[in-house]
Amino acid sequence: MSVEINQLHFTYQNSNFGLQIPALSLDKGLTAIVGQNGAGKSTFFKLLMGLLPLQDGNISINGKGSHELTGRARLTEIGILFQNPDDQLFNATVKKEVTWSARQITRDRAQVDQIVESALTKVELLDKADENPFDLSLSDRKLLAFATLLATNPQTYLMDEPMIALDWHSQTIVLHILKQLADEGRQIIVSTHDMDLVAHSFPRVITFDHGAMVFDGTPTALFGSPAILAQAGLLPPRIMQLCALLGDTNVYLTTEDYVSKHQA
């Protein structure tokens, strides 16, 4: 399971934004992508998905050229949760939405039903199966979009800010599912602005700044580098911000981490 990127250059026609990635290799497991608004996270995902033209360089998804993958072959290799769920919901009911995705994978009725029920159960939307997606709250729409992705269950999951609008309980559910998928050998790439989340759950974090990759390593290394944080316009996790107020500038990834090191 891997995504390989070489000499990738991309620019939009109508803005002066450019993305450059000389070389990047992403393996299975959890990877976070962070960076300021407009740093290029969503652009990167759209390029991986083949939703933007490949202008220069190449991307291979699990050994295949990304822009050659089509149809069902693409769906089982890679899938995306869009930042705005409204970009991927278009059916009349919650159930139909997930069924539509499941049917891209199999035409077997019983199998489709089973996939739909399992996906909706995981995101706790089964009791809303007959509702219209556009009557749901934004957090439920985000969870529904995630369920459609779970239905196709690709090798590589691109999650563009999956926690937007989610409350604490739903965030816990989504994180749990992502960790489980990673344990099963899936590749999970998550963009987020939540540094606490990156610190406590991601072994690897990649940082974009104005379309350039400026860091690739562990959260401990990122949050221990004030220069990189400043360059990329980022802040460390909340616990570190609080400790800094108290004059302690060490790296702590969680509150428990701090407490265990300081309690007598």
């Binding site: 109508n14 609008a165 739903s170 602005h193 909340r238």
Partner: protein, 278 residues
């Protein structure tokens, strides 16, 4: 206090058309206007519905059955939306919903309300530039709003709501897609808006506690608690549905209490509790 300076809700319930249950039930509260009120609660607890009601969007723009009475100072938003609309700035939870779809550039989108008010081109330009600077959209002023990144769109949505400098501001989870620095700048700015009545929902409990004068806690459509952030998180029966801010978790585990025994919920209170007062 005289009623013209109060926000009052009296047994307010809201039901969407065709829904079996009320989305909000029996909300009753009376509290001074000109403060910052944070609205907290789990998903589907009614935060967005409450924002729509407080602004008059419900029932004036969006159909719903409203029972009970609601007054915002002298204003009656549920009855007179057209008249009070210009006093209220509203930021939608999903910034894409805020775009007019008619502007070719970010600058024209921001200028819309000012053009409608008949302001001069130079006054409009100055206001647009000032807000673009505040929200880091200077480089995007000539870009099509539909092509902005999610966080840029959220910044634009806020700028559009502020452009007429309304007296009442309602923000529905305004920083959900903003980067950490943008989020902290936004809340720092918000904290300084003393003469306005502001409602803000957020899943960022830490930022809310640092910013607001009081919190309203919703659960399953009911107002289950209200008070200062410090009081809300220090009461024994605090809701398990809402995680406490990191400050509180840290201080309570370390035994860093304030003189009255409460644990801090803001950075300033943490400094006080640990003897780091500035």
């Amino acid at each position: 206090m005289d009623d013209s300076q109060q926000i009052s809700l009296n047994k307010v319930s809201v039901a969407y058309p065709g829904a079996e249950r009320n989305q909000l039930s029996d909300l009753t509260i009376k509290t001074p206007a000109h403060q910052i009120i944070g609205i907290l609660g789990p998903s589907n607890s009614g935060k967005t519905t409450l924002c729509r009601l407080l602004s008059g969007i419900i029932p004036q723009v969006m159909r719903a059955d409203v029972q009970g009475e609601y007054r915002l100072g002298t204003l009656n938003p549920t009855a007179n939306w057209a008249e009070i609309n210009r006093f209220i700035g509203y930021v939608f939870q999903n910034p894409a919903d805020q775009l007019s779809g008619m502007a070719e550039t970010v600058a024209t989108e921001m200028a819309f309300s000012l053009v409608n008010l008949g302001q001069s081109a130079s006054a409009i330009d100055a206001k647009v530039r000032a807000l673009a600077r505040q929200f880091q959209l200077i480089d995007q002023l000539n870009q099509n709003p539909a092509t902005l990144s999610g966080g840029q769109m959220q910044r634009l949505a806020i700028a559009c709501a502020l452009v007429t400098d309304p007296e009442v501001l309602i923000f529905d989870d305004p920083t959900s897609q903003m980067d950490p620095v943008g989020t902290s700048q936004f809340f720092a700015w918000l904290k300084n808006q003393h003469d306005k009545t502001i409602f803000v929902t957020s899943t960022n409990v830490d930022a809310l506690c640092n910013t607001v004068d009081s919190l309203w806690v919703l659960n399953a459509g009911q107002l289950v608690a209200s008070g200062t952030p410090r009081k809300i998180f220090n009461q024994p029966a605090k809701s398990e549905l809402i995680p406490a801010p990191v400050v509180f978790n840290l201080a309570s585990q370390m035994g860093w209490a304030l003189p009255d025994g409460d644990y801090p919920v803001t950075q300033a209170e943490l400094m006080e509790a640990t003897g780091h007062e500035r």
